[in-house]
């Protein structure tokens, strides 16, 4: 049978039978199990995966197909997993067969912007050259642009970046990440950048249950054990912590667990003597309840003094 393009080929294609489909399912399942929550993110990754698969089938069937633009921008509050997902993106895109090498180059302002006239372009190009065949991840991309200084070299780096993103789309994927409000301000100053990024993915805040799941995962990874009562205490801790200022989602959970470990360690040392092996892993309810969060948080005193932290500056985690 003749297809519409005039190329003789069977009229049906097997979507499930495709070898890359199985690999893709495995990758996506892994993503689902290791990253908690993040529904919109996972949905978008699934869509991209499906698109790449269909593109390949289209190519085999003789339809016109071109590599889609996969530049991405991740926005979201602190600790919502932007960097974690970006680091995985390289692997995912490599497994999908979109990038050839699947390596990840992480760049910040320092790596892209030069110190004197004529220094920026070669520096940016060198980084871009290294990223070819893989993913270039620019964390906190808004630092590239300094609106208060019109002679800042950041603009030059952005222009070269734009040129690369447009002309060599099939060679590399650029992922920008940053906090939402500052990213928006950044794009307002650089409208060309906004329109060249096809995927703007917003990372939502975690719900309390998701935070608990994350905590469970972290505790398991660090080989500690919470009992029933400590879990209850930790849940109460999170409920209070979420309402307090400078809450940073999963990062706050991680920091909380690290501080609980500190308290557990000092408790064990204070007790001294011979203890059961399991005691080294067990987290006591008291280790959690000692947190300052239960007394209204570390900022309770700070706020009373009328001191506030400027917008956007990430406060040190205090508890």
């Amino acid at each position: 049978m003749e297809s519409s393009t005039g190329i003789a080929s069977p009229a049906f294609v097997d979507v499930d039978g495709n070898a890359s489909q199985a690999l893709l399912e495995g990758t996506l399942r892994e993503l689902d199990s290791e990253l908690i929550g993040l529904k919109p993110v996972k949905l978008r990754i699934r869509q991209i995966a499906a698109l790449l698969l269909v593109e390949r089938l289209r190519e085999q069937a003789g339809f016109a197909s071109g590599p889609p633009s996969l530049h991405m921008c991740f926005t979201g509050n602190p600790g919502t997993g932007k960097t974690t997902v970006a680091l995985r993106m390289a692997t995912i895109l490599h497994q999908l067969g979109y990038v050839r090498r699947g390596h990840l180059i992480v760049a910040t302002r320092d790596d892209l912007v030069g110190q004197y006239v004529g220094h920026t372009a070669p520096k940016t190009k060198e980084v871009l050259q290294k990223a070819i065949g893989g993913v270039l991840f620019i964390d906190e991309a808004y630092y590239l642009h300094r609106p208060e200084n019109e002679r800042d070299y950041g603009q030059e780096a952005i222009e070269i970046l734009l040129q690369f993103m447009e002309n060599r789309r099939e060679d590399l994927v650029v992922v920008l990440a940053g906090y939402k409000s500052r990213m928006e301000r950044f794009f307002r100053c650089n409208p060309g950048l906004h329109s060249r990024i096809a995927h703007h993915i917003e990372f939502p805040d975690y719900s309390l249950d998701e935070l608990m799941d994350i905590a469970e995962l972290m505790v398991r990874q660090r080989m500690y054990a919470f009992d029933e009562r400590s879990w209850q205490a930790f849940r109460e801790y999170l409920q209070l912590r979420v309402a307090q200022p400078h809450f940073a989602n999963a990062r706050s959970v991680r920091n909380a667990i690290d501080r609980i470990r500190l308290r557990q360690a000092s408790r064990i040392v204070q007790q001294g003597g011979r203890i059961a092996k399991e005691e080294l892993a067990r987290i006591d309810e008291a280790d959690i309840r000692q947190s300052r969060v239960f007394q209204g948080g570390a900022d309770a005193g700070l706020a009373a003094n009328g001191r506030t932290l400027p917008d956007g500056i990430e406060a040190k985690e205090l508890a």
Binding site: R100, H103, Q129, K130, I132, G133
Partner: protein, 142 residues
């Protein structure tokens, strides 16, 4: 006269795909690649002009092929070679080097003989191309 310097020089010119395969081999060995060009291909002139710095930490052959093409565009009538450097301690030298671009017309060399003291004869190689000033050699005329 076809210049035969470096690897593959007795073979027909390599295509882009073949060059890419060679680059892939170099990268797999962990060699860093550099591009050099000249219009004075005397055998003793082994240090050619560098096209940018050697490309360290580049992962993909396409990035290097892109630079080769950029160099070809800038110097279409020069000799351009790709050099792979092995930085392993104790080795620290060129591991592979081959010409990726050559001028359309290669006038070649002539052998000069010089009568010296007694009946000694000194021989030297003279490149016809160097009779023109640098930059004006190989401009399609021979």
């Amino acid at each position: 006269m076809r210049l035969t310097q470096g690897t593959f020089s007795f073979l027909p010119d390599l295509t882009s795909e073949q060059i890419e395969k060679q680059i892939e081999y170099c990268l797999a060995n962990g060699w860093s690649l550099g591009i050099e060009y000249t219009d004075d291909p005397h055998p003793r002139n082994s240090l050619w002009e560098m096209w940018n710095l050697p490309m360290f930490d580049v992962a993909d052959p396409k990035a290097i092929l892109f630079e080769i093409n950029a160099c070809r565009k800038a110097f279409p009538n020069h000799y351009i070679k790709l050099i792979a450097n092995n930085s392993t301690r104790g080795r620290e030298s060129v591991a592979l080097s081959f010409i990726v671009n050559r001028p359309a017309q290669e006038p070649g060399f002539r052998l000069d003989r010089q009568e010296a003291a007694g009946r000694t004869v000194r021989y030297t190689i003279h490149s016809y191309a160097t009779e023109r000033p640098a930059g004006a050699r190989y401009n399609g005329r021979s």
